[in-house]
Amino acid sequence: MPEKFGFKLDLKTTGPFLALITLIIIGMLVNDAFLSTGNLSNILARSSFIGIVAIGATFVITAGGIDLSVGAMAAFISGCMIIIMNSLIGTIESSVAIILLAIIASAGIGALAGLINGILTTKAKIEAFIVTLGTMGVYRSLITYMADGGTLSLDFSIGDIYSEVYYGDLLGLPYPAWVFLGVAIIGYVLLNKTVFGRHCLAIGSNEKVALYSAIHVDRVKTMTYMLQGMCVAIATIIYVPRLGSASGQTGILWELEAIAAVIIGGTVLRGGYGRIWGTVVGALILTLIGNILNLTDAISNYLNGAVQGIIVIAAVYLQRGAWRRNKQ
């Protein structure tokens, strides 16, 4: 008896890791090249976009909200950054200064976009699903409009310098992975060690109790959306140097991927329970699935989506340990 209890608790946190390890083993079996440093660092760098966005989503979801606008917001912020950088080229000498300005602007726009989502949800009392579905449409349209239906491209003179942010590495680890790690640590501390994080949990668990515990419910909820906005901005900051462009197609379906990463990681969609490390692992799992499908062409390309779907379900099944629970 006692062991079982201990084990169950364990499974809740180690579950996502188990699923991750299973996938890694599959990857190794499918192709030797899987373990090459090149491939591993590709995976890390890649998962950082969704991962960072998903860390923001962990807060929103833990506090009982949802944000569908993140993909469109990423596209919109990318567009803004590119326009800002391109237009500053004449006026400011140093490319690095231009990039830094754009980064600051990006964070500001992200926070503002989050603020709008937050205020519409808390003050106008409109369901988060509808608010963010609406702002998703708005940002997608705005980027399309800004790009005149086409693509905004970063000027090469800056792009070449900025691309170091995505392609460079430190101690063998690509920069995006460092950023991801940094955001994850900050997110972890914020959620688990600060009053703000506690309040997010409380609100997601029971809003009325939170209100009766003197928590500024609306303020905290708005802040989760702002945090989400800033995470999107950070993801954008490392996304722009990778592809150097933005269009109406940028960041499409990121919202679903981010939410999936959060839930795979063990956070509960209804709120009240959040796990940052789970989210990190969730993002890695999603990226790994894509990578593993590319390791082999044994599976018809048409069926990629099916395999992906089945693996996601299986991964969650594995980590929830449902089969154990059902047996007893």
Binding site: N42, G149, G150, T151, F156, S245, S247, Q249, N301, Y302
Partner: protein, 290 residues
């Protein structure tokens, strides 16, 4: 020898044709050349395609790459990275935004497609007329086609009543056309730009029983539409070719370079000829999914 092929996933009719031809060519080339391995990856977005390019390099150690970019600008950097590793690069359909990266460029001509369509409409409505335009998804390809189309019409007495996005999709083609029909009592021609959209437009026009007052110009060369042209359907007198089989051409060219060391480089631009009842049989492939 390994050739990597990276194309968009089959998310609409034309891309489906693309996938079909890529897969068929892969089978054919591999069967004919035992030493050759072709890895075909498909992507649902630009960034997924950038991932695929990385994987082709890191995992499959490709010697040559055939890439049909999801979008031009975002993939310019990633393709350049591949090129820098000494890989032979063939770019298909959508030119990169930086010159000189690719060894070979095989492409249809989007601008010409718009131009040819406009020319046909101008010529058919020599006394002038009112037309509506259904566009694709807001991307560079759509821009190029649309701009060339409008430029060609400039100065003529053909009036474009309105244009709306129909997302290269039959359902949206149907819906948008229904609304155009409700809105405009007189429409002389429709430029649907894409055969999937055209299918939706045809149904909407038939529902409104206005098939006698207008004609439709699609684009791509989908077998259903080509068949109609061949059969002399009044509603779709012509189609404008934009062949998804260009991927096959590109793969074959690339394989040639490797297997027989044929010196290959430069640009291969496929035209966008007008498909009429006379020449339709040449473009009709009943076994293709597109």
């Amino acid at each position: 020898q390994t050739i990597g092929v990276s194309i968009p996933a089959a998310t609409h009719g034309w891309a489906g044709g693309l996938n079909f031809h890529a897969e068929a060519t892969k089978q054919r080339l591999e069967a004919a050349n035992p030493g050759l391995r072709i890895v075909l990856l498909t992507a649902n977005s630009a960034s997924e395609q950038a991932n695929d390019l990385e994987d082709l390099l890191a995992i499959h150690h490709i010697d040559a790459l055939v890439v049909l970019p999801f979008e031009s600008a975002p993939l310019t950097g990633p393709v350049r990275n591949v090129k820098r590793q000494g890989v032979f690069v063939t770019v298909v359909d959508r030119g990169l935004s930086e010159a000189g990266i690719e060894d070979v460029y095989v492409a249809g001509n989007n601008a010409e497609m718009g131009r040819v369509s406009a020319q046909y409409i101008k010529q058919s409505l020599s006394d002038g007329g009112d037309i509506v335009v259904l566009r694709g998804i807001p991307t560079v390809i759509d821009e190029q086609r649309f701009d060339a189309f409008m430029a060609e019409l400039e100065g003529s007495n053909i009036k474009v009543l309105d244009n709306k996005y129909a997302n290269w999709n039959r359902d949206d083609g149907f819906t948008v056309m229904q609304d155009f029909l409700a809105r405009f009592p007189k429409i002389d021609a429709v430029w649907a730009q894409d055969d999937d959209i055209a299918i939706g437009v045809i149904q909407a026009v038939r529902q409104a029983r206005r098939q006698d007052e207008l004609f439709i110009v699609g684009g791509g060369g989908m077998k259903e539409i080509v068949k109609r042209v061949m059969d002399g359907d009044r509603l779709t007198p012509v189609d404008v070719l934009y062949p998804p089989s260009m991927i096959a051409t590109a793969m074959e060219l690339t394989a040639l370079k490797f297997l027989f060391n044929v010196p290959i480089s430069g640009r291969y631009i496929l035209g966008s000829p007008l498909i009429t009842q006379e020449n339709a049989a040449e473009y009709y492939f009943p076994d293709s999914p597109f």
